[in-house]
Amino acid sequence: MKNIWTIAKREYNNYFNGPLAYIVALVLLFSVGAFFVYLTLESQGRAIYGGPPLEPNFLNVVFVFLMLFLAPAITMRLLSDEARMGTLELLLTAPVRDYELVVGKWLGSLLFVLSLVLFSLIYPIIYNNFVDPHIDYKLLLSSYIAVILIVSALLGLGVGISAMFSNQFAAYFIALGLFFILWFVINFPANFMSSGGELFNYLSVANHFTAINNGSFTLGDIVYFLSLTALGLFVGTTAIEIRRWR
Protein backbone atom coordinates (compact mmCIF):
# COMPACT_ATOMS: atom_id res chain seq x y z
CA MET A 1 0.00 0.00 0.00
CA LYS A 2 2.83 2.37 0.87
CA ASN A 3 4.31 1.81 -2.58
CA ILE A 4 1.07 2.92 -4.23
CA TRP A 5 1.25 6.17 -2.32
CA THR A 6 4.98 6.66 -3.13
CA ILE A 7 4.31 6.21 -6.85
CA ALA A 8 1.16 8.37 -6.81
CA LYS A 9 3.02 11.18 -5.04
CA ARG A 10 5.84 11.18 -7.59
CA GLU A 11 3.42 11.15 -10.52
CA TYR A 12 1.43 13.98 -9.01
CA ASN A 13 4.52 16.14 -8.55
CA ASN A 14 5.81 15.12 -11.95
CA TYR A 15 2.80 16.70 -13.68
CA PHE A 16 4.05 20.10 -12.64
CA ASN A 17 7.52 19.51 -14.10
CA GLY A 18 6.19 19.76 -17.64
CA PRO A 19 3.86 22.07 -19.52
CA LEU A 20 1.04 19.50 -19.81
CA ALA A 21 -0.44 20.17 -16.37
CA TYR A 22 -0.65 23.90 -17.00
CA ILE A 23 -2.14 23.47 -20.47
CA VAL A 24 -4.77 21.05 -19.17
CA ALA A 25 -5.58 23.35 -16.23
CA LEU A 26 -5.80 26.36 -18.51
CA VAL A 27 -8.06 24.70 -21.07
CA LEU A 28 -10.37 23.28 -18.42
CA LEU A 29 -10.71 26.27 -16.17
CA PHE A 30 -10.94 28.75 -19.05
CA SER A 31 -13.65 26.79 -20.87
CA VAL A 32 -15.66 26.14 -17.73
CA GLY A 33 -15.17 29.83 -16.88
CA ALA A 34 -16.60 30.88 -20.25
CA PHE A 35 -19.71 28.76 -19.64
CA PHE A 36 -19.87 30.17 -16.14
CA VAL A 37 -20.23 33.65 -17.65
CA TYR A 38 -22.96 32.36 -19.98
CA LEU A 39 -24.72 30.68 -17.07
CA THR A 40 -24.67 33.86 -15.00
CA LEU A 41 -26.01 36.02 -17.85
CA GLU A 42 -28.72 33.51 -18.71
CA SER A 43 -29.90 33.32 -15.09
CA GLN A 44 -29.93 37.10 -14.89
CA GLY A 45 -32.11 37.21 -18.00
CA ARG A 46 -34.49 34.68 -16.49
CA ALA A 47 -34.66 36.63 -13.25
CA ILE A 48 -36.10 39.63 -15.15
CA TYR A 49 -39.14 37.53 -16.05
CA GLY A 50 -39.27 36.02 -12.57
CA GLY A 51 -37.95 32.61 -13.73
CA PRO A 52 -35.83 30.38 -11.48
CA PRO A 53 -32.02 30.40 -12.03
CA LEU A 54 -30.28 27.54 -13.83
CA GLU A 55 -28.46 24.95 -11.75
CA PRO A 56 -24.63 25.03 -12.01
CA ASN A 57 -24.33 21.27 -12.58
CA PHE A 58 -24.35 22.22 -16.26
CA LEU A 59 -20.75 23.42 -15.78
CA ASN A 60 -19.68 19.88 -14.95
CA VAL A 61 -21.02 18.65 -18.27
CA VAL A 62 -18.53 21.02 -19.89
CA PHE A 63 -15.78 19.82 -17.56
CA VAL A 64 -16.44 16.16 -18.31
CA PHE A 65 -16.83 16.69 -22.05
CA LEU A 66 -13.37 18.29 -22.13
CA MET A 67 -12.01 15.44 -20.03
CA LEU A 68 -12.82 13.08 -22.90
CA PHE A 69 -9.97 14.81 -24.77
CA LEU A 70 -7.76 15.69 -21.83
CA ALA A 71 -7.84 12.46 -19.81
CA PRO A 72 -5.97 10.53 -22.54
CA ALA A 73 -3.33 13.29 -22.52
CA ILE A 74 -3.03 13.03 -18.75
CA THR A 75 -2.57 9.26 -18.78
CA MET A 76 -0.82 8.65 -22.11
CA ARG A 77 2.74 8.68 -20.86
CA LEU A 78 2.20 7.21 -17.40
CA LEU A 79 3.37 3.70 -18.28
CA SER A 80 4.26 3.95 -21.98
CA ASP A 81 7.08 6.36 -21.18
CA GLU A 82 8.47 4.08 -18.48
CA ALA A 83 8.64 1.34 -21.09
CA ARG A 84 10.24 3.60 -23.69
CA MET A 85 12.85 5.04 -21.34
CA GLY A 86 13.68 1.69 -19.76
CA THR A 87 12.74 2.84 -16.28
CA LEU A 88 10.12 0.11 -16.25
CA GLU A 89 13.01 -2.31 -15.76
CA LEU A 90 13.89 -0.39 -12.63
CA LEU A 91 10.36 -0.53 -11.23
CA LEU A 92 9.85 -4.17 -12.14
CA THR A 93 13.06 -5.18 -10.35
CA ALA A 94 12.20 -3.13 -7.27
CA PRO A 95 10.07 -4.85 -4.62
CA VAL A 96 6.87 -3.38 -6.06
CA ARG A 97 3.93 -5.52 -7.14
CA ASP A 98 2.69 -4.97 -10.67
CA TYR A 99 -0.74 -3.84 -9.52
CA GLU A 100 0.81 -1.39 -7.03
CA LEU A 101 2.61 0.25 -9.92
CA VAL A 102 -0.53 0.54 -12.04
CA VAL A 103 -2.77 1.69 -9.18
CA GLY A 104 -0.13 4.18 -8.04
CA LYS A 105 0.03 5.72 -11.49
CA TRP A 106 -3.75 5.92 -11.68
CA LEU A 107 -4.01 7.46 -8.22
CA GLY A 108 -1.40 10.09 -9.12
CA SER A 109 -3.36 11.14 -12.21
CA LEU A 110 -6.64 11.06 -10.28
CA LEU A 111 -5.22 13.34 -7.58
CA PHE A 112 -4.06 15.73 -10.27
CA VAL A 113 -7.52 15.94 -11.85
CA LEU A 114 -9.13 16.17 -8.42
CA SER A 115 -7.09 19.28 -7.71
CA LEU A 116 -8.57 20.78 -10.89
CA VAL A 117 -12.04 19.67 -9.79
CA LEU A 118 -11.41 21.40 -6.49
CA PHE A 119 -10.41 24.55 -8.37
CA SER A 120 -13.57 24.41 -10.48
CA LEU A 121 -15.65 24.57 -7.28
CA ILE A 122 -14.94 28.27 -7.29
CA TYR A 123 -17.52 28.79 -10.06
CA PRO A 124 -20.61 27.40 -8.32
CA ILE A 125 -19.55 29.14 -5.10
CA ILE A 126 -19.38 32.53 -6.83
CA TYR A 127 -22.54 31.73 -8.79
CA ASN A 128 -24.37 31.01 -5.58
CA ASN A 129 -23.88 34.62 -4.50
CA PHE A 130 -25.60 35.92 -7.63
CA VAL A 131 -28.73 33.84 -7.68
CA ASP A 132 -31.91 33.84 -5.68
CA PRO A 133 -33.09 31.29 -4.66
CA HIS A 134 -29.71 29.72 -3.91
CA ILE A 135 -28.49 26.65 -5.74
CA ASP A 136 -29.49 23.12 -4.83
CA TYR A 137 -26.60 21.83 -2.70
CA LYS A 138 -27.66 18.21 -2.93
CA LEU A 139 -27.75 18.43 -6.70
CA LEU A 140 -24.31 20.06 -6.71
CA LEU A 141 -22.91 17.29 -4.50
CA SER A 142 -24.40 14.66 -6.79
CA SER A 143 -22.94 16.44 -9.80
CA TYR A 144 -19.46 16.41 -8.29
CA ILE A 145 -19.78 12.75 -7.37
CA ALA A 146 -20.59 12.15 -11.04
CA VAL A 147 -17.45 14.03 -12.08
CA ILE A 148 -15.20 12.11 -9.68
CA LEU A 149 -16.65 8.75 -10.75
CA ILE A 150 -16.33 9.36 -14.48
CA VAL A 151 -12.86 10.88 -14.16
CA SER A 152 -11.77 7.86 -12.13
CA ALA A 153 -13.07 5.55 -14.87
CA LEU A 154 -11.53 7.51 -17.76
CA LEU A 155 -8.15 7.69 -16.02
CA GLY A 156 -8.31 4.00 -15.10
CA LEU A 157 -8.91 3.04 -18.71
CA GLY A 158 -6.25 5.52 -19.85
CA VAL A 159 -3.64 3.99 -17.54
CA GLY A 160 -4.59 0.53 -18.75
CA ILE A 161 -4.11 1.59 -22.37
CA SER A 162 -0.85 3.37 -21.55
CA ALA A 163 0.52 0.09 -20.16
CA MET A 164 -0.05 -1.61 -23.51
CA PHE A 165 2.07 0.79 -25.57
CA SER A 166 5.63 2.11 -25.62
CA ASN A 167 4.52 5.10 -27.66
CA GLN A 168 2.55 7.74 -25.79
CA PHE A 169 0.78 9.04 -28.89
CA ALA A 170 -0.52 5.60 -29.71
CA ALA A 171 -1.81 5.45 -26.13
CA TYR A 172 -3.44 8.89 -26.57
CA PHE A 173 -5.36 8.09 -29.72
CA ILE A 174 -6.47 4.64 -28.65
CA ALA A 175 -7.78 6.06 -25.37
CA LEU A 176 -9.43 8.99 -27.17
CA GLY A 177 -11.11 6.61 -29.60
CA LEU A 178 -12.33 4.39 -26.78
CA PHE A 179 -13.77 7.34 -24.84
CA PHE A 180 -15.61 8.59 -27.92
CA ILE A 181 -17.11 5.19 -28.54
CA LEU A 182 -18.15 4.91 -24.90
CA TRP A 183 -19.65 8.41 -24.86
CA PHE A 184 -21.26 8.83 -28.30
CA VAL A 185 -21.39 5.62 -30.24
CA ILE A 186 -22.01 2.64 -28.02
CA ASN A 187 -25.73 3.25 -27.39
CA PHE A 188 -26.36 3.80 -31.11
CA PRO A 189 -27.57 0.26 -31.90
CA ALA A 190 -30.27 0.66 -29.26
CA ASN A 191 -32.04 3.14 -31.56
CA PHE A 192 -32.59 0.48 -34.18
CA MET A 193 -33.48 -2.40 -31.93
CA SER A 194 -37.03 -3.31 -30.97
CA SER A 195 -35.77 -5.15 -27.91
CA GLY A 196 -32.50 -5.80 -26.09
CA GLY A 197 -31.30 -2.23 -26.55
CA GLU A 198 -30.96 -1.85 -22.78
CA LEU A 199 -27.53 -3.46 -22.86
CA PHE A 200 -26.17 -0.83 -25.24
CA ASN A 201 -27.79 1.94 -23.27
CA TYR A 202 -26.27 0.53 -20.10
CA LEU A 203 -22.78 0.61 -21.63
CA SER A 204 -22.99 4.29 -22.51
CA VAL A 205 -20.84 6.48 -20.28
CA ALA A 206 -22.93 9.51 -21.14
CA ASN A 207 -26.17 7.95 -19.84
CA HIS A 208 -24.70 7.11 -16.44
CA PHE A 209 -22.97 10.44 -16.09
CA THR A 210 -26.11 12.37 -16.99
CA ALA A 211 -28.12 10.36 -14.49
CA ILE A 212 -25.80 11.10 -11.56
CA ASN A 213 -25.17 14.67 -12.69
CA ASN A 214 -28.93 15.29 -12.64
CA GLY A 215 -29.27 13.79 -9.19
CA SER A 216 -31.45 10.85 -10.17
CA PHE A 217 -29.27 7.80 -10.11
CA THR A 218 -29.26 4.20 -8.96
CA LEU A 219 -26.58 2.05 -7.42
CA GLY A 220 -26.10 0.60 -10.92
CA ASP A 221 -24.72 3.91 -12.17
CA ILE A 222 -22.06 3.97 -9.45
CA VAL A 223 -21.22 0.30 -9.95
CA TYR A 224 -20.81 1.00 -13.68
CA PHE A 225 -18.08 3.59 -13.14
CA LEU A 226 -16.31 1.59 -10.44
CA SER A 227 -16.32 -1.45 -12.75
CA LEU A 228 -14.82 0.57 -15.60
CA THR A 229 -12.08 1.82 -13.28
CA ALA A 230 -11.34 -1.69 -12.09
CA LEU A 231 -11.34 -2.98 -15.67
CA GLY A 232 -8.80 -0.34 -16.73
CA LEU A 233 -6.50 -1.12 -13.81
CA PHE A 234 -6.83 -4.84 -14.42
CA VAL A 235 -5.95 -4.44 -18.10
CA GLY A 236 -2.96 -2.31 -17.10
CA THR A 237 -1.67 -4.86 -14.60
CA THR A 238 -2.11 -7.67 -17.12
CA ALA A 239 -0.27 -5.66 -19.78
CA ILE A 240 2.66 -5.19 -17.40
CA GLU A 241 2.70 -8.91 -16.63
CA ILE A 242 2.69 -9.71 -20.35
CA ARG A 243 5.67 -7.38 -20.81
CA ARG A 244 7.63 -9.50 -18.33
CA TRP A 245 7.07 -12.61 -20.37
CA ARG A 246 8.19 -11.12 -23.64
Binding site: M85, A94, R244
Partner: protein, 309 residues
Protein backbone atom coordinates in the same frame (compact mmCIF):
# COMPACT_ATOMS: atom_id res chain seq x y z
CA UNK B 1 24.63 -16.02 -3.07
CA UNK B 2 23.38 -17.12 -6.44
CA UNK B 3 22.51 -20.64 -7.52
CA UNK B 4 21.45 -21.31 -11.10
CA UNK B 5 20.52 -24.78 -12.35
CA UNK B 6 19.49 -25.65 -15.88
CA UNK B 7 18.37 -22.13 -16.70
CA UNK B 8 16.75 -21.87 -20.13
CA UNK B 9 15.04 -18.90 -21.74
CA UNK B 10 13.23 -18.81 -25.05
CA UNK B 11 12.13 -15.68 -26.87
CA UNK B 12 9.46 -17.13 -29.08
CA UNK B 13 11.23 -19.76 -31.18
CA UNK B 14 14.71 -18.43 -30.43
CA UNK B 15 16.55 -19.99 -27.50
CA UNK B 16 18.51 -17.21 -25.82
CA UNK B 17 19.86 -19.23 -22.90
CA UNK B 18 20.66 -22.86 -23.02
CA UNK B 19 20.68 -24.96 -19.86
CA UNK B 20 22.90 -22.61 -17.87
CA UNK B 21 24.22 -23.65 -14.45
CA UNK B 22 26.55 -21.79 -12.13
CA UNK B 23 27.03 -20.58 -8.56
CA UNK B 24 28.30 -17.45 -6.94
CA UNK B 25 29.18 -17.37 -3.25
CA UNK B 26 29.09 -14.58 -0.74
CA UNK B 27 32.22 -12.45 -0.88
CA UNK B 28 32.86 -13.39 -4.47
CA UNK B 29 32.96 -11.26 -7.59
CA UNK B 30 31.95 -13.27 -10.62
CA UNK B 31 32.44 -11.93 -14.10
CA UNK B 32 30.09 -12.71 -16.91
CA UNK B 33 32.05 -12.47 -20.10
CA UNK B 34 30.75 -12.76 -23.61
CA UNK B 35 30.16 -11.02 -26.90
CA UNK B 36 27.02 -9.01 -27.56
CA UNK B 37 23.94 -11.20 -27.75
CA UNK B 38 25.53 -13.99 -25.72
CA UNK B 39 22.67 -13.96 -23.20
CA UNK B 40 24.33 -11.96 -20.42
CA UNK B 41 21.59 -9.37 -20.07
CA UNK B 42 18.83 -11.96 -20.33
CA UNK B 43 20.40 -14.02 -17.56
CA UNK B 44 20.73 -10.95 -15.37
CA UNK B 45 17.14 -9.95 -16.00
CA UNK B 46 16.01 -13.37 -14.85
CA UNK B 47 18.20 -13.20 -11.74
CA UNK B 48 16.69 -9.83 -10.78
CA UNK B 49 13.11 -11.03 -11.19
CA UNK B 50 12.43 -8.82 -14.20
CA UNK B 51 11.41 -11.72 -16.39
CA UNK B 52 10.63 -15.34 -15.60
CA UNK B 53 12.77 -18.18 -17.00
CA UNK B 54 11.33 -20.68 -19.46
CA UNK B 55 12.86 -23.53 -17.51
CA UNK B 56 15.31 -24.19 -14.71
CA UNK B 57 15.81 -23.20 -11.11
CA UNK B 58 17.25 -19.89 -9.96
CA UNK B 59 17.91 -19.16 -6.28
CA UNK B 60 19.12 -15.67 -5.38
CA UNK B 61 19.88 -14.68 -1.78
CA UNK B 62 18.12 -17.84 -0.65
CA UNK B 63 14.86 -17.25 -2.51
CA UNK B 64 13.43 -18.67 -5.73
CA UNK B 65 13.12 -15.92 -8.37
CA UNK B 66 9.81 -17.25 -9.65
CA UNK B 67 8.09 -18.28 -6.42
CA UNK B 68 9.40 -15.51 -4.16
CA UNK B 69 10.16 -12.76 -6.63
CA UNK B 70 9.49 -9.91 -4.19
CA UNK B 71 11.86 -11.35 -1.57
CA UNK B 72 14.56 -11.66 -4.22
CA UNK B 73 13.98 -8.12 -5.44
CA UNK B 74 14.31 -6.77 -1.89
CA UNK B 75 17.79 -8.29 -1.63
CA UNK B 76 19.19 -7.58 -5.06
CA UNK B 77 20.76 -4.39 -6.33
CA UNK B 78 20.60 -4.10 -10.10
CA UNK B 79 22.27 -1.77 -12.55
CA UNK B 80 20.75 -2.43 -15.98
CA UNK B 81 22.74 -2.03 -19.16
CA UNK B 82 21.06 1.20 -20.25
CA UNK B 83 20.93 3.04 -16.95
CA UNK B 84 17.27 3.88 -16.48
CA UNK B 85 16.84 7.30 -14.91
CA UNK B 86 14.09 9.87 -14.62
CA UNK B 87 15.98 12.67 -16.32
CA UNK B 88 13.50 15.32 -15.20
CA UNK B 89 14.28 14.61 -11.54
CA UNK B 90 17.10 15.88 -9.36
CA UNK B 91 19.68 13.25 -8.37
CA UNK B 92 18.72 13.33 -4.70
CA UNK B 93 14.96 13.15 -5.41
CA UNK B 94 15.45 10.24 -7.78
CA UNK B 95 17.41 8.24 -5.23
CA UNK B 96 14.96 9.14 -2.49
CA UNK B 97 12.11 7.89 -4.67
CA UNK B 98 13.88 4.59 -5.27
CA UNK B 99 14.63 4.33 -1.54
CA UNK B 100 10.99 5.03 -0.69
CA UNK B 101 9.90 2.29 -3.08
CA UNK B 102 12.17 -0.05 -1.13
CA UNK B 103 10.69 1.34 2.08
CA UNK B 104 14.09 2.08 3.59
CA UNK B 105 14.26 3.72 7.02
CA UNK B 106 16.06 7.11 7.10
CA UNK B 107 16.12 7.27 3.32
CA UNK B 108 17.61 10.74 3.14
CA UNK B 109 20.65 9.85 5.25
CA UNK B 110 21.20 6.72 3.20
CA UNK B 111 20.96 8.69 -0.06
CA UNK B 112 23.64 11.07 1.22
CA UNK B 113 25.78 8.05 2.09
CA UNK B 114 25.59 6.42 -1.33
CA UNK B 115 26.12 9.74 -3.09
CA UNK B 116 29.31 10.05 -1.06
CA UNK B 117 30.31 6.51 -2.09
CA UNK B 118 29.96 7.21 -5.79
CA UNK B 119 31.41 10.70 -5.50
CA UNK B 120 28.35 12.67 -6.53
CA UNK B 121 27.57 14.57 -3.32
CA UNK B 122 28.14 17.91 -5.01
CA UNK B 123 25.61 17.12 -7.76
CA UNK B 124 22.79 15.97 -5.45
CA UNK B 125 20.56 18.93 -6.29
CA UNK B 126 21.33 18.89 -10.02
CA UNK B 127 18.93 17.48 -12.58
CA UNK B 128 19.84 14.10 -14.02
CA UNK B 129 19.28 15.50 -17.53
CA UNK B 130 22.34 17.73 -17.06
CA UNK B 131 24.70 14.94 -15.98
CA UNK B 132 27.35 13.39 -18.20
CA UNK B 133 27.11 9.73 -19.15
CA UNK B 134 29.69 8.74 -16.55
CA UNK B 135 27.83 10.58 -13.82
CA UNK B 136 24.55 8.96 -14.83
CA UNK B 137 26.26 5.61 -14.63
CA UNK B 138 27.27 6.43 -11.08
CA UNK B 139 23.73 7.54 -10.19
CA UNK B 140 22.59 4.13 -11.43
CA UNK B 141 25.21 2.45 -9.30
CA UNK B 142 24.12 4.52 -6.28
CA UNK B 143 20.57 3.31 -6.90
CA UNK B 144 21.78 -0.31 -6.94
CA UNK B 145 23.63 0.18 -3.63
CA UNK B 146 20.88 2.07 -1.77
CA UNK B 147 19.43 -0.84 0.18
CA UNK B 148 22.76 -2.55 0.94
CA UNK B 149 21.80 -5.53 -1.22
CA UNK B 150 23.13 -9.02 -0.47
CA UNK B 151 23.54 -9.60 -4.17
CA UNK B 152 24.66 -6.97 -6.62
CA UNK B 153 24.05 -7.49 -10.32
CA UNK B 154 25.77 -5.04 -12.62
CA UNK B 155 25.33 -5.05 -16.37
CA UNK B 156 28.41 -3.43 -17.92
CA UNK B 157 29.10 -1.20 -14.90
CA UNK B 158 32.06 0.73 -16.26
CA UNK B 159 30.81 1.44 -19.75
CA UNK B 160 30.96 5.12 -20.68
CA UNK B 161 33.17 6.11 -17.76
CA UNK B 162 36.47 7.94 -18.19
CA UNK B 163 39.63 6.10 -17.08
CA UNK B 164 39.76 7.78 -13.69
CA UNK B 165 36.17 6.93 -12.94
CA UNK B 166 36.67 3.36 -14.17
CA UNK B 167 39.35 2.87 -11.54
CA UNK B 168 37.12 4.39 -8.85
CA UNK B 169 34.12 2.27 -9.77
CA UNK B 170 36.25 -0.89 -9.91
CA UNK B 171 37.64 -0.14 -6.46
CA UNK B 172 34.12 0.39 -5.22
CA UNK B 173 32.99 -2.93 -6.67
CA UNK B 174 35.99 -4.71 -5.16
CA UNK B 175 35.16 -3.19 -1.79
CA UNK B 176 31.54 -4.31 -2.01
CA UNK B 177 32.58 -7.74 -3.27
CA UNK B 178 34.42 -8.46 -0.03
CA UNK B 179 31.18 -9.00 1.89
CA UNK B 180 28.52 -9.47 -0.76
CA UNK B 181 27.96 -11.42 -3.92
CA UNK B 182 28.66 -9.47 -7.08
CA UNK B 183 27.83 -10.65 -10.57
CA UNK B 184 28.95 -8.30 -13.27
CA UNK B 185 28.89 -8.57 -17.00
CA UNK B 186 31.48 -7.08 -19.25
CA UNK B 187 32.91 -7.53 -22.68
CA UNK B 188 36.18 -5.97 -21.54
CA UNK B 189 38.42 -8.92 -20.83
CA UNK B 190 41.01 -7.03 -18.87
CA UNK B 191 38.25 -5.74 -16.66
CA UNK B 192 37.18 -9.25 -15.80
CA UNK B 193 40.83 -10.13 -15.23
CA UNK B 194 41.19 -7.07 -13.06
CA UNK B 195 38.29 -7.31 -10.61
CA UNK B 196 36.74 -10.75 -10.82
CA UNK B 197 37.61 -13.71 -8.65
CA UNK B 198 36.02 -15.99 -11.15
CA UNK B 199 34.97 -15.70 -14.76
CA UNK B 200 32.17 -17.35 -16.68
CA UNK B 201 32.70 -17.21 -20.39
CA UNK B 202 29.39 -17.35 -22.17
CA UNK B 203 28.52 -17.42 -25.84
CA UNK B 204 25.21 -18.11 -27.57
CA UNK B 205 23.55 -18.80 -24.24
CA UNK B 206 26.00 -21.48 -23.13
CA UNK B 207 28.87 -21.43 -20.67
CA UNK B 208 32.12 -22.18 -22.49
CA UNK B 209 34.47 -21.99 -19.54
CA UNK B 210 34.22 -21.33 -15.84
CA UNK B 211 37.23 -20.87 -13.60
CA UNK B 212 39.33 -18.38 -11.71
CA UNK B 213 41.04 -15.93 -14.01
CA UNK B 214 44.48 -17.34 -13.08
CA UNK B 215 43.45 -20.94 -13.70
CA UNK B 216 41.84 -20.12 -16.99
CA UNK B 217 45.07 -18.65 -18.23
CA UNK B 218 47.31 -21.50 -17.18
CA UNK B 219 44.83 -24.11 -18.27
CA UNK B 220 44.72 -22.84 -21.79
CA UNK B 221 48.30 -21.80 -22.22
CA UNK B 222 49.99 -25.24 -22.57
CA UNK B 223 53.54 -23.91 -22.14
CA UNK B 224 54.94 -20.71 -20.74
CA UNK B 225 56.08 -18.24 -23.31
CA UNK B 226 58.66 -15.54 -22.74
CA UNK B 227 59.76 -12.58 -24.84
CA UNK B 228 63.42 -11.56 -24.70
CA UNK B 229 64.98 -8.46 -26.14
CA UNK B 230 68.65 -7.69 -26.79
CA UNK B 231 70.44 -4.64 -28.06
CA UNK B 232 70.95 -4.88 -31.84
CA UNK B 233 69.64 -7.61 -34.11
CA UNK B 234 69.03 -11.16 -32.92
CA UNK B 235 70.85 -13.84 -34.93
CA UNK B 236 70.84 -17.62 -35.25
CA UNK B 237 73.64 -18.00 -32.74
CA UNK B 238 71.42 -16.43 -30.11
CA UNK B 239 68.64 -18.91 -30.89
CA UNK B 240 71.09 -21.79 -30.61
CA UNK B 241 72.31 -20.44 -27.25
CA UNK B 242 68.79 -20.28 -25.92
CA UNK B 243 67.78 -23.67 -27.28
CA UNK B 244 70.72 -25.31 -25.54
CA UNK B 245 69.27 -24.41 -22.14
CA UNK B 246 67.51 -27.32 -20.48
CA UNK B 247 63.71 -27.06 -20.59
CA UNK B 248 63.44 -24.69 -23.53
CA UNK B 249 61.16 -26.19 -26.12
CA UNK B 250 61.13 -23.66 -28.85
CA UNK B 251 62.76 -20.33 -29.75
CA UNK B 252 62.23 -18.04 -32.68
CA UNK B 253 63.35 -14.62 -33.91
CA UNK B 254 60.62 -12.01 -33.97
CA UNK B 255 62.83 -9.32 -35.44
CA UNK B 256 64.16 -6.05 -34.04
CA UNK B 257 66.20 -7.79 -31.36
CA UNK B 258 63.17 -9.66 -30.12
CA UNK B 259 63.16 -13.40 -29.49
CA UNK B 260 60.35 -15.51 -28.11
CA UNK B 261 60.88 -18.85 -26.47
CA UNK B 262 58.75 -21.39 -24.65
CA UNK B 263 59.54 -23.76 -21.83
CA UNK B 264 57.50 -26.54 -20.31
CA UNK B 265 55.32 -25.52 -17.37
CA UNK B 266 57.07 -25.94 -14.04
CA UNK B 267 60.58 -25.86 -15.51
CA UNK B 268 61.45 -22.21 -15.30
CA UNK B 269 64.32 -21.78 -17.78
CA UNK B 270 64.53 -18.01 -17.50
CA UNK B 271 67.50 -17.59 -15.08
CA UNK B 272 69.62 -20.00 -17.08
CA UNK B 273 68.65 -18.40 -20.40
CA UNK B 274 69.59 -14.98 -19.06
CA UNK B 275 72.97 -16.26 -17.86
CA UNK B 276 73.78 -17.95 -21.16
CA UNK B 277 72.71 -14.96 -23.27
CA UNK B 278 74.88 -12.57 -21.28
CA UNK B 279 77.85 -14.99 -21.32
CA UNK B 280 77.56 -15.24 -25.09
CA UNK B 281 78.21 -11.50 -25.23
CA UNK B 282 74.70 -10.13 -25.94
CA UNK B 283 73.31 -7.09 -24.13
CA UNK B 284 70.10 -8.35 -22.49
CA UNK B 285 67.59 -5.52 -22.32
CA UNK B 286 64.35 -7.12 -21.37
CA UNK B 287 62.68 -10.41 -20.55
CA UNK B 288 58.94 -10.69 -19.86
CA UNK B 289 56.35 -13.46 -19.67
CA UNK B 290 53.77 -13.66 -22.43
CA UNK B 291 50.84 -15.14 -20.48
CA UNK B 292 47.92 -15.88 -22.70
CA UNK B 293 45.56 -12.98 -22.20
CA UNK B 294 41.85 -13.49 -21.62
CA UNK B 295 41.40 -12.02 -25.08
CA UNK B 296 43.20 -14.96 -26.60
CA UNK B 297 41.48 -17.46 -24.35
CA UNK B 298 38.18 -15.97 -25.30
CA UNK B 299 38.89 -16.03 -29.02
CA UNK B 300 40.13 -19.57 -28.77
CA UNK B 301 37.01 -20.73 -26.94
CA UNK B 302 34.52 -18.93 -29.12
CA UNK B 303 36.18 -19.97 -32.35
CA UNK B 304 36.48 -23.57 -31.15
CA UNK B 305 32.76 -23.42 -30.54
CA UNK B 306 32.28 -22.16 -34.08
CA UNK B 307 34.40 -24.94 -35.58
CA UNK B 308 32.39 -27.68 -33.90
CA UNK B 309 29.41 -26.59 -35.96
Amino acid sequence: MIKVRGLTKDYGARRAIHNLSFDAQQGEIVGFLGPNGAGKTTTMRILTGYMPPTDGEVIVAGYDVVEESLEVRKRVGYLPETVPLYTEMAVFDYLKYMGDLRQLPNVEDRVDEVLEMVGLSDRAEGYIANLSKGMRQRVGLAQALLHKPEVLILDEPTIGLDPGQVVEVRNLIREIGKERTVLLSTHLLHEAQNICDRVLIINKGKILAEDTTANLQSRLAGAERVALRIRGEADKDLIKTIQKVKGVEEAEIKGDGLVEFEFAPGKDARPEVAKQVVQAGYDLLEMRPLGMSLEEIFLELTSAEGKKK
